[in-house]
């Protein structure tokens, strides 16, 4: 399933609060972007650092990150690499 799509790494910085993972993962499933790998690190600064690897097309990933940005607890979202990985 993932072979036709490019790999994207999405990094997300959020405030470390209850349900923030649910808010984020809910958007991935709503936009039909399957999470291949995810790691979360909670810093001493009260922030959580997400690194998510997905295989999807550029447009879907862009639409998804635009929505992720609207989550109140989310401070920053970046698509680290576009394809050619």
């Amino acid at each position: 399933m993932t072979t036709n799509n490019d790999m994207h790494i999405i990094t997300i910085v959020t405030r470390n609060s209850l349900r923030v993972l649910q808010r984020i993962s809910g958007l991935f499933s709503r936009y039909s972007v399957n999470i291949d790998q995810m790691s979360i690190f909670s810093g001493q600064d009260g922030l959580s650092y997400f690194s998510v690897i997905v295989y999807s097309d550029d447009h879907s990933v862009q639409k998804l990150t635009n929505q992720l940005n609207k989550i109140v607890e989310v401070c920053d979202v970046r698509i680290v690499n576009h394809k050619h990985f």
């Binding site: 209850l18 349900r19 649910q22 808010r23 809910g26 709503r30 862009q62 639409k63 635009n66 929505q67 940005n69 609207k70 109140v72 989310v74 401070c75």
Partner: protein
Amino acid sequence: MKITGAQAIIESLLAEGVDLVFGYPGGAILPTYDALFESKERIRHVLVRHEQGAAIAAEGYAKSSGRTGVCIATSGPGATNLVTGIADAMLDSVPLVCITGQVASSLIGTDAFQEADIVGITIPITKWNIQVSRAEDIPNAIAKAFYYAKDGRPGPVLVDITKDAQAGMMEFTEYAKYVPRGKKSTQHKHSDMQFIEIADLLNNAKRPLILAGNGVGIANAEEELVKLAEKATIPVACTLHGLHSFPSNHEYFVGLLGMHGNYAPNILTNEADVILAIGMRFDDRVTGNLARYAKQAKIIHVDIDFAEINKNVRSHMHVQADAKYAISHILRFVQSNNHKEWHHRFKHLHDQEYEQVIKAELSHKGDMIRMPQAMDLVSRKTKGEAIVVPDVGQNQMVAMRYYKFQKPKSHISSGGLGTMGFALPAAIGAKMANPDREVICVAGDGGIQMNIQELGVILQEKLPVKILLLNNNYLGMVRQWQEMFYEERYSFVDLVSPDFVALANAYGIKARKVTSPDELEEAVDEMLASKEAYFLEVVVEKREKVFPMIPAGSAVDEIRLS
């Protein structure tokens, strides 16, 4: 000063300027209702008959006033009953603060009586939500709720408060409005250069078109829009929610976009060379088949929500800003222009629609009344100045096609979610916010029965809401689709309804039923003259269809007149 969490809820609401809430009490929200009882001189509470009515009434209040609507419900079923109204507010960008009771924090996760994970349930349909389990956290949570309901693109928020937090004591000093730290900007800084480029596109356009959406009204940019259209002589087409933001008698108004919109703006969307889309999101009901939507045009998209830019339609230029800000800046650089021929194209196509559809409907002489005849009459009798609150379906399409809106914040409708049952509670909320304006609920026989229990609110609050029931004894819009696309296999669209006049009378509401075209005008006069609530049932032709129509999957220029 030591007060309870419940009292802190009330003090917070008062500090946010709230003087009216819609709600329904229950076990987990009892402490808050006890505090409301104490404060009933300061906050008016309207007791709905079903929590869905509370959420939708709060929407009607918010949409017709521009203020944030507030609704209160208990835990479990009280909270889940709000869900449809919350989802409706999310899709239509309505600022709503929903306060729900929750079981005591010691019981959470035990499947306690009336426990539902309402925060989890409403994550996808709120801008923000939170559960509060300590009294001292209540004021800050409510402050954030009011902030996020209105920030950027408005929408619903939910604050779920456990019973022990409501009952607990806290030190209440001064209420602080929420000010975000390191706020993500919803409005980017724009340079003049960007607006000059946009104005250049418009100035050099041969066939420019403005598409005005919900964002125009939300930003109170109606006057700016008129100025822009007039200065640059650009025709203005409106979405369902944009309809009341541009006067329908203005010479540059070219009608309604979308599936049951007007012929000219739909066809000419695919001929325009520059499209300026303001505060609208290219919903599928507006665009039809995206692959054949405005491919020839350069599109300038103005929206406060960045996620809407390039979501459905690729724009050539965009401005992430509220409509008032963007229009006033574009206005500075546009020049007056001569687009006579282009305007004439709209006029020509409108005349075709008028002859084949509008005139045909309005001048039809038969034994039965047609929906457009009733709406046209109401429009003329109220001079287009009433607040009209349609339900969903044929009645909604007819109401917006035939009511000639002249004033902002006057068309209160469920556009995005298409919530049947919306009209009656929303009209109640709109009347509460606008006691001096005529508020007319327009519904079909299907939708009115979805929240018919709210007639009890009209009775209890003595609200002079006018209800126009267009009764065709069918779920008309579904029937229309079954006729056109399902080989006339009418699957479960035939309604056996109660005696509506007797039903309204049972709620102490004056009511009348008309079946003959000869009685219609006098009955509408009687309804409008009434100083109290009035329920007018108009029996209309059973098999009417709403045209024009863009069949699902077709392009906007494939709109059909029959």
